[in-house]
Subunit: 380 residues, 2 copies
């Protein structure tokens, strides 16, 4: 076991009707609220209206920034931060999925500063202060609702990059599984894949902690138990709740405590597919993971075999494990090859070049010269 | 799944040499430190001297209260709080095991008030403020280092009672497994049993959350994997670390999220054995648990069978499961009957009477008329 610090101050409010506690939670941080949201589904569903109405009824002033994209971009962060700054807001309320919350985190860090938000992502600046962040989650997938991470794209720089700061922990996150009932089948599946991939990044990370291994497998098996039936019963509160909670646990810290780090090479490579072809995040991971395991299986074959054996309750070789995991992703109707997506002319050269620009790598398993091309070939 | 709020703001600093971060953590809360400790083992080991010297070198003033007993009593809490109050301390630093930390929590809540500390335990007062608490843990067992609970005895009232307040979360807890190396074999085993019992209280609690069930079993299995070899190798850092971390997870909230509550009837009954006969807490639990399962097996037989089957990786009946769990406790050299302890004349009537006085009960499984006697008979 490695030394670690476990710290997670987010209050997670989970369950049916839990938004009743939203206004009291917000009230303690001020009265001028910047509400950020995505492509308008929260307006169409009435959720935005319901929440802002309750804020206004409580005497608060609401400022808004909508239109955050599903792979969020730094320009939206800058524009939203300018609105917050100009209006002297006290806090940021995110209503939406991972992209909206990831954006809200950086918006809250950027409002107090005069430099570009992107500086946080490239190490030119470290967050020193930030407005309080409260989130209302509408998609079970990324776990951002209970962690200090944010991932944002910069299309000009052709990079998708991450920032982490204790200041980026949401103060409160509200998770009502009923709000995820309207998520379509494909994005529900991508969310399940995403949470499983987060666990796998921890599994394949550096360092050895048997307790964390057990927690990782617990979350993966919960996703495997609740995920497939959910895809056949999208209105099941219980199954929605199980996936939503598993997604939070998959990236709130418990999978990695006692290890050196997760790997995150698969996420880094997956981000390239999102950046170049707007592949949904979860879908990029189900394409990259089987390829990544095939690329590295000579080095970590027994670790791959152990994962698959635990997932499927039988003794598997590494090759069998990869095949079964790929099969499970397919059973969720997630893509495992580029051809499973309707992409317009994906280019090996472009993917390899973007990986080079972004210096795609894992924290444990390192890509060597020529590995980008080998990996990309395995996407076909 | 039930609605829940997950909130745990404690910073857990875990690992070898982690005390290097202690003074910086303390410094942010002030300069006048009340240090509380137990029966002197931290003085004999040199740990007390090492820590207080580093505090004084950093310009802090140290006040001390030693002598907290292994089943902590309210009189010590009152005396320590008076010292803290009289000297205007800024915070409380606990160096020790669960009893010292449980006491420190209530000391920190009591210093600012003028009523007796016991009022918090009997519902006559609710904590409104509290001094910051920092802990240095020297015994892996209770999980108090990362939760808001405290259990203290009142011998005059013949009660052992619990209090819970968000104010009682330690701000920081420092867990260096090396500090537990000197814990003798019996108390090491009691700690393993204690953490397993905490998981079992969650398992037998009210409400159904499949994710929590999986987390509970993960922690129990970690204890079963690392516990027995540790008893044969008390100087193993790795095994000490695994048990120490498992003990924290067993009662930091993750076993119970999504359920209504744990049960805690076994703890309530075990407290009676500690109160009357000073039975170590962990030992009281290994005596009570088999008896409790036998008492309730007609109602929760399948739940008992599921637990045992998962623990021992084979399909067991409830009776077989109870026998195997009892056997596991015996394999740790923990008592499973009163006769396994050298008690002076334990009295059935006294135990039943004390259970009546304390209104011993579970939050899920309720003792009916006559059950106290039936339970106590099963201790023999």
């Amino acid at each position: 076991m490695e030394n670690f610090i476990a710290y997670n101050p987010t209050s997670l409010h989970f369950g049916k009707g839990i938004l009743a506690d939203l206004v009291p939670a917000i009230r303690q941080y001020g009265k001028r609220i910047l509400v950020v949201y995505g492509q308008g589904s929260v307006k169409r569903s009435g959720l935005y209206e319901k929440i802002t109405h309750s804020l206004q009824s409580a005497g608060m002033e609401v400022f808004e920034y909508g239109g955050i994209r599903s792979n969020p971009i730094i320009e939206d962060v800058e524009s939203a931060a300018a609105i917050g700054r100009d209006n002297g807001v006290d806090m940021v309320l995110a209503i939406g999925g991972g992209s909206v919350i990831d954006s809200a985190k950086v918006i809250a860090l950027t409002i107090p500063v005069s430099h570009p938000a992107w500086d946080f992502f490239v190490g030119k600046a470290t967050p020193q202060s930030g407005l309080p962040i409260i989130t209302v989650l509408t998609l079970a997938a990324t776990g951002t609702e209970m962690n200090p991470f944010s991932v944002v794209s910069n299309q000009k720089a052709r990079m998708k990059a991450a920032v982490s700061s204790p200041l980026a922990f949401p103060k409160h996150s509200f998770l009502d599984p009923e709000l995820t009932m309207t998520v379509p089948r494909d994005y529900t599946a991508f969310g399940i894949a995403d949470l499983m991939a987060h666990c796998m990044e921890a599994w394949f990370g550096a360092g050895n902690c048997p307790m964390s291994d057990k927690l990782i497998l617990s979350i993966i098996k919960e996703a495997m138990e609740a995920g497939p039936p959910l895809l056949n019963d999208l209105q099941s509160y219980e199954l929605r709740a199980r996936i939503m909670y598993a997604a939070t646990l998959a990236l709130n810290g418990i999978t990695i405590q006692g290890k050196v780090s997760g790997d995150w090479g698969v996420h880094a490579a997956g981000h390239i597919l999102s950046l170049l072809y707007d592949v949904p995040h979860g879908a990029s991971l189900t394409i990259v993971y089987p390829a990544w395991m095939r690329l590295f299986k000579s080095q970590i074959g027994s670790r791959i075999a152990d994962l698959g054996s635990a997932m499927f309750n039988e003794s598997l070789t590494a090759d069998q494990a990869i095949g079964r995991i790929e099969g499970f992703f397919l059973s969720l109707d997630c893509p495992v090859k580029l051809r499973d997506m309707n992409l317009r002319n994906p280019s090996m050269a472009d993917m390899v070049e973007a990986m080079e620009t972004s210096k795609v790598n894992g924290m444990n398993m390192k890509f060597k010269e020529g590995d980008y091309l080998k990996l990309v070939e395995l996407f076909y």
